[in-house]
């Protein structure tokens, strides 16, 4: 390949590698992040091919594409907002422009001091009832961390106070949807567009802040079709939406740390940030700050990290240009790979054979042994086998104890195989899955 072509390809590949790697950090969509990582590695593989190391390139592609794929699958399955759409619409609602939309910013400034609230602590001592601002159904007698989201618990009455405070401020009670601020309703209920529970809106005087308020104050639930109103039908008294378990890696960008000009919206947001924390679900500013820190994808040491990264990058570039170590001018050959391949295929073939045989034996053994184990125990799935069963045997579903059938089979609600219901544990069978609606 001629020199120029090689240079062009090298530049293109390296550009792709760097840009996709950066894209992975900046994107809000988890799917895209996984793909960007894949793409970066594939670009690296291309560079390996340029160097003549074909096997390395192929292995690189194989490992990374497969691995990233599985990672993406799990992200889509388990995480909230894998597509990043919720984050985008929040930012749209907050009217953030330009690069600020990509920042993973932290709350600015020093953390506010703890404000020991006398009445709260007294009340807590009396009622011994701590709860999580995000998950009001959590009740604990002691302070600590919420088992669902890890936030520090607050006394239950703080919420009630915060809510009362909040409500007394706003004058006509217009309820609106956190995701769709244009939806006004005069009574609480569900948003007609996304089904989220409506929250009281700010009064018109601070309408300029209201968008940002909604955007910032209400942690959002994912808005895609498939998860419509499923978890939003919990009617707990706060009227806030219910976050699904375990996921707080959301980006609540308030302002852009990197741009030096503070636009008026930034000012507003800073102010509203302060103003709203008082009424924000009854959390103290310190707690709110902690929550934001917890949810940002960043650390307070970010500036240090950036400086360190720049210095090391500069160092590496200087080293690459100057190359102060002794170099050989011999290029890579195919002999090494050929030699390895020959060794593998001729001398170590028996090893592969043995491994294959062992795996086969293992699978066969597992299948045979598994079959033998199943024979004495009657599988409920074996329908119509005609084996003798006691006629008084009632079968029930482990998930739905109200299903009772004479024959074994599958639960019509969930498809699980029915198990024999024991007479003695009838009442016991109800308890763990207790609150079935």
């Amino acid at each position: 390949m001629t020199g120029i072509l090689e240079w062009i390809i090298f530049l293109a590949l390296s550009l792709i590698a760097v840009i996709t790697a950066a894209g992975m950090l900046l994107t809000m969509s988890m799917y895209r992040a996984g793909l960007a990582l894949m793409a970066s590695f594939v670009a690296l593989a291309g560079m390996f091919i340029l160097l003549g190391a074909d096997l390395l390139a192929a292995i690189q592609i194989m490992m990374n594409v497969g691995g990233m794929l599985v990672m993406v699958l799990f992200m889509v399955m388990i995480m909230m907002d894998p597509g990043g759409e919720m984050m985008w619409s929040m930012k749209r609602n907050m009217h953030i422009r330009g690069l600020a939309a990509f920042s993973m910013s932290m709350p600015r400034g020093k953390p506010p001091e703890e404000e020991p609230s006398q009445e709260n602590e007294q009340h807590a001592a009396q009622t011994a009832d701590w709860t999580c601002p995000m998950h009001p159904e959590v009740r604990q007698p002691d302070p600590g961390k919420c088992p669902k989201c890890g936030m520090s618990l607050i006394p239950r009455t703080a919420i009630a106070n915060g809510e009362a405070e909040h409500e007394s401020v706003t004058q006509p009670q217009v309820y609106t949807c956190p995701m769709h601020p244009e939806v006004p309703q005069d009574h609480p209920g569900n948003c007609p567009k996304c089904g989220m529970a409506l929250i009281p809106a700010q009064d018109p005087a601070s309408a300029g802040q209201s968008d940002s308020h909604e955007g910032l104050s209400m942690p959002m639930h994912q808005q895609s079709d498939e998860q419509d109103s499923h978890a939003m039908q919990s009617g707990h008294k706060l009227n806030t939406s219910h976050m699904s378990d375990g996921d707080h890696e959301m980006n609540m960008s308030g302002h852009d740390m990197n741009t030096s000009n503070m636009s008026s919206s930034d000012h507003q947001m800073q102010m509203s940030g302060h103003g709203m924390t008082m009424s924000h679900m009854g959390m103290t500013p310190r707690q709110y700050y902690d929550m934001m820190v917890g949810m940002a994808m960043s650390t307070t040491q970010l500036p240090w990290a950036i400086v360190l990264g720049m210095i090391s990058a500069l160092l590496l570039i200087i080293l690459v240009i100057l190359t102060p170590w002794p170099q050989a001018t011999v290029g890579p050959t195919q002999d090494a790979t050929n030699a390895v391949g020959n060794l593998l295929l001729s001398r170590y073939m028996i090893g592969f054979e043995g491994a294959a045989f062992l795996i086969l034996a293992g699978i066969a053994g597992a299948v045979i042994l598994a079959k033998r184990e199943r024979a004495p125990v009657q599988e409920p799935e074996v329908m119509g086998a005609g084996a003798a069963k006691s006629s008084a045997q009632i079968y029930t579903c482990p998930m739905h104890p109200e299903i009772r059938q004479q024959e074994p089979g599958e639960c019509p609600r969930c498809g699980m195989s029915l198990v024999p219901a024991e007479e003695t544990s009838d009442s016991g069978g109800q308890s763990p899955q207790g609150g079935h609606a």
């Binding site: 390949m1 001629t2 072509l5 969509s29 799917y31 895209r32 793909l35 894949m38 594939v42 074909d54 096997l55 390139a57 192929a58 292995i59 592609i61 194989m62 594409v65 497969g66 794929l69 599985v70 699958l73 889509v76 597509g83 759409e85 895609s224 079709d225 498939e226 195919q334 790979t337 050929n338 391949g341 020959n342 295929l345 001729s346 073939m349 592969f352 054979e353 294959a356 045989f357 795996i359 086969l360 699978i363 066969a364």
Partner: protein, 310 residues
């Protein structure tokens, strides 16, 4: 310049071959009497799709949606580079040709998954997960089935594999490997009866539900092309590639490829589309042990068959 010309040649051959596969499909669908319609249909369909407007659903992941067909076609073109058409007719002959080929099949499925995901529709998402499950499931049987010829030829290079079959085609003493390979190939290309991810009627088009116009055309071309490539690789691995008397190498190769493709497509007509979990259990419960068995057998036979080992 040589590189670019070579690349373009490979691309042209690929497209011509894809046209051939499309015609073959139509012939099997319509019967041999409608040869004229069979020849015209792929071109007419392509023209129709080219004239349609290119839509994108609202809320779709724009970049992924638009780029997925290009990625698919790019990956297929890359795999086409290592197919040897004749004694010295090959786009790119690294010493690891076959491994390179198998490895590149994963990004192809990734592009299909992107398509399904980016559509912002539930049907697309279901199909995406199905496609991902197939990717994970078929890779191993396909690789293992391909290891048989590699062991016999003692090389991963496709050209070398073809050359060592001068005496005896591998299909003769590795029939199990061929069967496994063909089944896994149907998986990869999402062909009936394993096309649950593209599930025409069930999920309103599956991964392609929201695609229209030229992008859909690219996808269809990519699908047909990857089927062609896999059949071609099957010929390379098991049927002696371009080896054959009297006729020049490339002619033999094309003949064998289309014959194999025709047989596979015709046999697939007799099956209904298998259910998703049936496809997966086929892969894990039947193909995987069978491919391990195949490796064991082939390894032993390698020591005995002349020309199949040293």
């Amino acid at each position: 310049m040589n590189t670019i010309v070579l690349a373009l040649l490979v691309l042209v051959c690929l497209l011509v071959g894809t046209y051939g596969i499309a015609v073959l499909q139509q012939l099997i669908l319509l019967g041999p009497r409608r040869a004229g319609a069979a020849l015209q249909w792929p071109i007419a369909n392509a023209l129709l799709l080219l004239r349609q407007e290119d839509l994108m659903p609202r809320g779709a992941d724009g970049f992924l949606f638009r780029s997925a067909p290009f990625i698919a076609l790019a990956v297929v073109s890359l795999t086409a580079l290592v197919i040897p058409l004749g004694p010295h007719l090959i786009g790119f002959d690294p010493s690891i040709g076959l491994f390179y080929f198998v490895v590149l099949l994963s990004p192809f499925v990734v592009s299909l998954m992107n398509a399904g995901w980016s559509q912002n529709s539930k049907e697309g998402l279901f199909s995406t997960f199905r496609a991902a499950a197939y990717l994970v499931s078929y890779e191993v049987p396909l690789g293992f089935a391909a290891i048989g010829p590699v062991m016999a030829a003692q090389s991963l290079s496709t050209q070398r594999i073809v050359e060592t079959q001068a005496g005896l085609w591998y299909v003769v003493w590795q029939p199990l490997g061929l069967v496994i390979y063909l089944l896994a190939a149907l998986f990869v290309t999402f062909r009936h009866p394993f096309d649950s991810a593209l599930a025409g009627d069930e999920l309103e088009g599956g991964v392609f539900a929201e695609y229209s116009g030229p992008r859909l055309l690219l996808f269809k071309i990519a699908l047909d092309a990857i089927f062609l490539i896999l059949m071609a690789m099957g010929v390379v691995l098991f049927f002696g590639g371009w080896q054959g008397p009297w006729l020049p190498g490339p002619v033999w190769f094309v003949l064998k490829t289309f014959l194999l493709a025709g047989i596979v497509l015709w046999a697939a007509r007799f099956l209904p589309r298998l259910r998703h979990d049936q496809i997966l259990s086929l892969s894990w419960k039947i193909l995987l042990p069978a491919s391990l068995l195949n490796i064991t057998l082939v390894g032993i036979l390698t020591l005995f068959i002349p020309g199949g080992g040293r």
